[in-house]
Each structure stands twice: as structure tokens, then as C-alpha cells.
């Protein structure tokens, strides 16, 4: 008689989910549960096509002090031997960060893998499922490493935005600069509200007061509280920063064609 480690019950005594006559078909839900996963799949696919197209384009990404986030840091002079678009040397970093992000995992497991597409909608059944326990999804556990490499890229994007304020020996301001700064704010809210960041700065502690065991200001607790504030809106940061990075790139692309649309304020 075989027995799992989880309980002392023999396999034959494990309960089974109810099937017909109480349950028939994938779900009893009557609402439009399919709308959300469909929209998410549509937007992800559209973003993926756009980003890939822009990376392949390998043109119209830099004008004056402005540099597209898809091509930042600008590596074309550092790796002249690289035969493809330099964007491919960079895009794997935000891609790996977003692909292993706990929010995006929920979104694409539902939308692309339909595991499950919505709550109580059982498209796939059977015991073959192993989730993130085995390859390739066990690699999701490397999310914190993606966070480590995404953070310097974010700092470089901040530098890209700030350097558009001062060039040719004087201060400048344009609508495009404001867009780049807004993009950095949204990306920062997303990056520093990440669950891995929340764990690293203090979530891993069981006791914020130990070992001194006295109630005073504790840096780990304060850092954890701050990241938690961002983390509570992680989904919103994820979406707004995804749109902002694409729109910033699009704006810079058209500014390369017509520099007047940067709308120089001074």
C-alpha cells in the first residue's frame, strides 16, 4: 500500500474532487470569466511583437540626448563585433525580470497556459501537473537574480532621463524629458515593489526587534514597510510601467523622424 508523505492516509483513501452529476463541464460560472485572460494575452502578445519589431529595426532609437529604453545602455560602440541589434543584448534583462515576476506569472499562467484561465475554470485536469516544482518552471525561483540585474538597468534609465535636462552647456526641458522621467518613476515603483525585493530588505526576518529585543526604529522593518506599500499595487505598477516603456520608445522613435515633436519647453 503506497502512502504520500503529506498525510498518513493510504493513496486509496485520498479524496477525489466531485465530478458529474454535481459538476459537468469546465465551470459553472455564468459571468464573462474569459474576458480578462483574453485581454491580457492580447496585450502581452501585442507588446511582444512591438518590442521584437523595435529590436530588429535597429534604427530610430537615439536623437540628440534622447535614447530609447529598449536600447539603453547604448552598447553599439562597446560591442562593434555584435552582428545583431544591440537591443538584444539588453532586452533579455527586463524580459527575465518580468517573466519571473510573481504578478506576471499569475497573468500568463492564466492567459497563455490556462492553468487555470480563471478561478474554478478547469480546462486541464490530471495528475501530470507539477507547477513550479520541476523544469522549466522551477527556474522561476531565480527571480531575485533577475531583480539584481534589472536594478542597474533601471538606474541607467534614470541617468538617460536626467541627462536630457542638461546638454550643449545649458539646461533644457521638453515634453519628451517629462515622459522619460515618468517612465522611470513607474519602472521604479514596479522594480522596488517586487516581492523578491520585499523579502530581501526585511521580509526574510522573523523578528524585526531581535536580537536587541527593544522597541526602537528598525531599518529592516521600515524598509520592509516601504517596499510593502509599493508591493500592494504591484499589478498596477506592472501594467503602467509596461505601457510607459513602450510609449516612451514610440515617442523617441517618432522624435527621431521629426525632432520638433519632443516639444522643447526651454
Amino acid at each position: 500500500m503506497t502512502q504520500s508523505q503529506l498525510t498518513d492516509l493510504p493513496e486509496s483513501k485520498l479524496p477525489q474532487s466531485n465530478a458529474v452529476p454535481a459538476y459537468e463541464g469546465p465551470t459553472s460560472r455564468k459571468d464573462n470569466w474569459w474576458v480578462e485572460p483574453f485581454l491580457i494575452a492580447f496585450v502581452f502578445t501585442a507588446f511582444g511583437i512591438y518590442a521584437t519589431g523595435r529590436a530588429i529595426e535597429n534604427n530610430l532609437y537615439e536623437v540628440g540626448p534622447y535614447l530609447s529604453p529598449f536600447y539603453s545602455p547604448n552598447l553599439k560602440e562597446f560591442v562593434p563585433w555584435w552582428p545583431l541589434s544591440p537591443a538584444f543584448l539588453i532586452l533579455w534583462i527586463p524580459l527575465s525580470f518580468r517573466a519571473t515576476c510573481y504578478y506576471y506569472r499569475k497573468a500568463y499562467y492564466r492567459s497563455y497556459f490556462m492553468h487555470p484561465p480563471a478561478c474554478t475554470v478547469g480546462m486541464f485536469k490530471g495528475k501530470g501537473y507539477t507547477g513550479e516544482q520541476s523544469f522549466p518552471f522551477v527556474l522561476q525561483n531565480l527571480h531575485r537574480y533577475a531583480f539584481y540585474v534589472a536594478t542597474p538597468v533601471l538606474l541607467i534609465l534614470w541617468w538617460d532621463a536626467i541627462k536630457t535636462l542638461y546638454y550643449d552647456g545649458s539646461f533644457h526641458m521638453s515634453v519628451l524629458t517629462l515622459v522619460m522621467i515618468a517612465n522611470c518613476i513607474l519602472l521604479s515603483g514596479y522594480t522596488f515593489g517586487c516581492h523578491a525585493c520585499r523579502h530581501i530588505v526585511g521580509g526574510k526576518e522573523d523578528c524585526f526587534s531581535c536580537p536587541s529585543n527593544e522597541s526602537k526604529v528598525k531599518p529592516a522593518f521600515q524598509a520592509w514597510q516601504l517596499v510593502t506599500k509599493f508591493n500592494e499595487r504591484h499589478q498596477q505598477w506592472a501594467w503602467t510601467s509596461l505601457f510607459s516603456v513602450a510609449l516612451t520608445d514610440l515617442y523617441i522613435r517618432y522624435t527621431c523622424v521629426d525632432p520638433n515633436i519632443a516639444f522643447q519647453l526651454f
Partner: protein
């Protein structure tokens, strides 16, 4: 029951056992403030006293009246009748993941078997029991759990993939999180979480959080922090090396 304002609802209620049964329709007068559990009681009192339903407090605190209302797991005592449209059929089924005993009553005893294998709270014998609020706040959220098992019911790993042989489910990850994050607990349940509770089966689709009647942020505050702790122990060689050099990590 107060006088009806003339509005009626049609409830389609599952009647039968795991192997044999059907949905039966009942017309029930709707009153202000009425919940689905009231409608079920009306059916018991007026049409069918043999309708089986488990309930106790009618205040969303005992976790007994879990069911699926129009396909969504919910407590019948928290499902307001005025949230349904006029003329809409209201389908009431037992929870799917655990075997039906009769009508709306299911056998959830598997959960108690899982619970037995979790290492209990283990403070040091010489622990200082002065506890500050900031150290206990996270754990207090988990203590709100009323064990309605709606999260276990909605979890697709248990519900659709039948991994009751290997996967502990969200309820017990909440319990483990409450123990692991307790400032005085000294046990280490990481190996248990990874190799027996199989936390890796969870693909964080957040349905457990969506259905929790106590609004516990199961995924963000319990499961993901536990996953990160499992990463600390088993999937982060760099972090482990740094901790080895600098020290850190509290548990055996």
C-alpha cells in the same frame, strides 16, 4: 421571516450524493438583507426538511457554510441575494474539491490529516515572551483564517489536478507562514514545505486570495514570502554563500 416585497428568486440546489443526484429548483421570496443561507433555510422550512447543509454562526466566522454559488466558491452567509439580478437562476452546489456526503455537505477531513503533519509552534524553553507589535503583525493576519477551506476548494492543483497526494494547499501554507514568521518560533519547516507540502506546485494564480472571505492576502503575504524563504534555502547559492560568510539565518 419578514413579509416578502413580492420579489422571488429561483434557486437551483444540488440534491444527492457524490454518485447520484440532480439540481432541484425552488422559488423563494426575497427580503432585504437576505443571504443565500437564508434562502436555503427557507427551503428546509417550507419545502424540504431533508436538504442537508452545514452551518453554524451565519456571521462569516465559523467557516461552515462553504459552497459554490453560481460557480464561485463563497460562504452562503456572505452571499447577498440582492447581488443577483431579478429573474436570475441562482445555482448552489457543494464545494467541488472534497467529496459530497449529501446535498451541500462535503467531507473535508483530508485537511485535518494534512494539518497533523505540520510541525507545531516551537519556542525556545527560555524564550523572552515580550513581543512587539511590528514583530507579530504579519502573523496576526494569518490568524484570521476561519478554515472554511474555500481556498483549498478553488486551488486548481487540488481541484482539477487532484494532487491531494502531494500538495498541502493554500490554507496550510497560511498556517506554516504564521509559524515560520512568528518571532519566537525556532523550527525550520523549509524542507517540509519543499519536499512534502510541495509549495512548488503553487503557480500563484491568486484564486485563493480572491475567494478568501476573511480578506487574507494569502498569495502575497503567505505563499510568496514562503516561496522566497524556500529559495533562500535551496535555490540561491550566492545568498547562501554570503550568509555562510557573514552569518545570518536563524533556524536549525
Amino acid at each position: 421571516m419578514p413579509e416578502s416585497n413580492g420579489r422571488q428568486a429561483t434557486l437551483k440546489v444540488y440534491r444527492g450524493t457524490k454518485d447520484k443526484g440532480e439540481f432541484q429548483s425552488y422559488k423563494v421570496p426575497v427580503e432585504a438583507g437576505m443571504v443565500v443561507l437564508d434562502a436555503i433555510h427557507y427551503i428546509q422550512q417550507n419545502f424540504d426538511p431533508e436538504l442537508a447543509v452545514r452551518w453554524n454562526c451565519k456571521a462569516a466566522k465559523c467557516g461552515s457554510c462553504s459552497a459554490e454559488v453560481n460557480g464561485m466558491p463563497s460562504l452562503m452567509c456572505k452571499s447577498r441575494m440582492d447581488s443577483f439580478k431579478d429573474g436570475e437562476d441562482i445555482c448552489v452546489q457543494p464545494i467541488k474539491t472534497f467529496p459530497i456526503i449529501k446535498d451541500l455537505v462535503t467531507d473535508v477531513s483530508w485537511n485535518y490529516e494534512v494539518n497533523k503533519k505540520i510541525k507545531a509552534f516551537s519556542p525556545s524553553p527560555d524564550a523572552d515572551w515580550t513581543i512587539y507589535q511590528e514583530d507579530i503583525e504579519r502573523v496576526q493576519e494569518f490568524r484570521k483564517c476561519i478554515e472554511c477551506f474555500l481556498c483549498q476548494n478553488v486551488c486548481h492543483v487540488l481541484r482539477d489536478h487532484e494532487r491531494k497526494d502531494n500538495f498541502m494547499g493554500p490554507r496550510f501554507m497560511v498556517r506554516v507562514a504564521g509559524l515560520e514568521m512568528h518571532p519566537l518560533d525556532e523550527a525550520n519547516r523549509m524542507k517540509y514545505l519543499k519536499d512534502e507540502g510541495h509549495i512548488g506546485y503553487c503557480n500563484i494564480t491568486k484564486c485563493c486570495t480572491e475567494v478568501c472571505p476573511e480578506d487574507i492576502h494569502i498569495t502575497d503575504n503567505a505563499i510568496i514570502p514562503l516561496k522566497e524563504r524556500v529559495v533562500d534555502e535551496f535555490y540561491d547559492p550566492l545568498g547562501k554563500f554570503i550568509r555562510g560568510v557573514l552569518g545570518g539565518g536563524k533556524k536549525k
